[in-house]
Amino acid sequence: MKVVIPMNEERWDFLLNGWIDESLTHNELADFEAYVSENPERRQEAESLQKTVMMLRAAPELDVPTGFRARIMDRVHEANMQKTNVISMPSKSKPKLLVQHSMLAMAAACLIVFVSLASIFPQVLPGLHGLLPPVFRANSTENNGDAGVTGVDDERSPASGEPLQPLPGEGGGQIADYSALADVGAGKMDSFPRLGPHVPKVNIIHGEVAEKEPTMQVPYRWVSYQVPDLVKALSLVREVLREQDGIMEDMIEIRVDGDPVRLNLTVYFPADQFSAGMQQLNKVGNVYDSEETLYDRSREYNAISEMIDQLRIDILDREEKLAKETDPLSKEMLEEDLVNSRISLTMWEQSKARLDMGVTEISLVLK
């Protein structure tokens, strides 16, 4: 007697991928075919996925670049030579002192870089930042309120684990009018100061911070939402990610803290997406409270600026190589890389332009 397994999403995924991979048993294939014949939308989904995989499999295999094998063999021979030299070196002539000095130097360099990085990126390296002596911490935490992605609550609820308190003048936990807030928020965005290319960059030269981190504070709107349940809030994140242009994964943060346990959801919206974003948020919660405050974007701005600079250097370098290259295959590869670099450059420039527009931060609070 044939056992009928009920069709759910898990079963469907199994059959669908098995069908694509041609790994279904006779019975499974029969189940699959019966199911798609009764469900035209599933049939369409299967055909579409099949085409996708066929597209992947149709992609031609690339040839290795000219001289690829020879370069590896050169390195192999080089490695062999070094191995031979080390083995043949008399033990008493081994440069032990030099090794010790090198290790000390490396340790010192690591410490300096560690201190520099932690003072520049306290949010990226929060653990490290806590280890810094006060002299370094002071510089890196001034202007705070910002705290990048992870410092959402710093201005209003600095004590970690404390329940969020209503903002002054906002009526202690009353549900505010969402639509009015959205309008106000969108309006405020238009008047945000622009962060231009005048912003000085932070460079690390020989392990020291060459320039003090600039102050770049941008007003943003902080909105707190009361969310009925966690599942809805999480599904909202997915919706926002899928449906909102300009929202990247790292612009959304979910954090559970407080006592009683609370879910904080923070989404950064580019100014022109604010109203649409609010509509999304309104599907799962109501405005709880909000505040306009300042947000320091300098770290992101500088990181993106550095990325852009590096890409420009890469592009110039590749253009130069391309001009000198005579081998047609290598030339073709260099051209492809150049196109990729140019696309990346455009993307990063766009990200930078988005920072220029200012952002809106929205926070959901689950009670």
């Binding site: 996925l49 597209m55 992947l56 031609p60 690829f68 094998r69 192999v76 242009d245 990729n340 993307m347």
Partner: protein, 200 residues
């Protein structure tokens, strides 16, 4: 072939560079394609494929034959790519449907509309570009699983061994990767139609 490969490995473990060159001949194309798909450009692919082979050479003494040699080798190549990607820890690029601002105004970055000329759309380079663009938009975990399965043709079991993850995880990553790519490729239905085969 397997016996010959074993001989090369054995000779290589004895320190014979010529044997390593033979191994290189067998796998260079596969490894290069893997690193290219992972990194998205030839320059990085070249560097990382070289790096992978050097690591293979340096650690071939440790290969005991518990797994297939190819699995062991691809695992090294995969780790080289993932290490590099994590090291860079670049922010994830925007989704493909976002407009790109250029000097000439706002344009769509994604796959161009080739529906006027489907034959041309099928040529080698365009499929290459489309596949590469789609793959690059996937998260690393899905990307590597999909490359190993649908571009390189490894079995689920081999991929689980290469990536040191469970079979269930491999299936789930491939499934999610395929679904994500489907969404991307569906934006150009005309092109998809050209590579489709009718459902039996």
């Amino acid at each position: 072939v397997e016996e010959q490969e074993n001989q090369y490995i054995h000779r290589c473990q004895q320190g014979d560079p010529q044997a390593f060159e033979e191994i290189l001949k067998l796998y260079e194309k596969k490894v290069y394609n893997l690193t290219y798909r992972m990194m998205g450009n030839h320059e990085d692919a070249n560097d990382l494929a070289q790096e992978a082979f050097i690591r293979v050479y340096q650690s071939i003494d440790q290969f005991r034959g518990d797994a297939r040699f190819s699995t062991w080798l691809y695992r090294i190549a995969t780790n080289v790519c993932l290490d590099e990607l994590r090291k860079r820890s670049r922010r994830q690029a925007e989704s493909l449907d976002e407009p790109v601002l250029t000097q000439d105004g706002s344009v769509m970055r994604e796959i161009p509309d080739w529906s006027d000329n489907p034959e041309e759309a099928l040529n080698r380079r365009e499929i290459q570009t489309m596949v590469q663009t789609g793959i690059q938009s996937l998260p690393e975990e899905q990307k590597i699983a999909l490359i190993l399965r649908d571009l390189q043709g490894h079995t689920y079991e081999e991929i689980a061994e290469m990536l040191d993850i469970s079979l269930g995880t491999v299936k789930s990553r491939i499934n999610r990767g395929r679904m994500a790519l489907k969404g991307i490729f569906e934006k150009d239905r005309e092109l998809l139609l050209q590579v489709s085969r009718p459902m039996e």
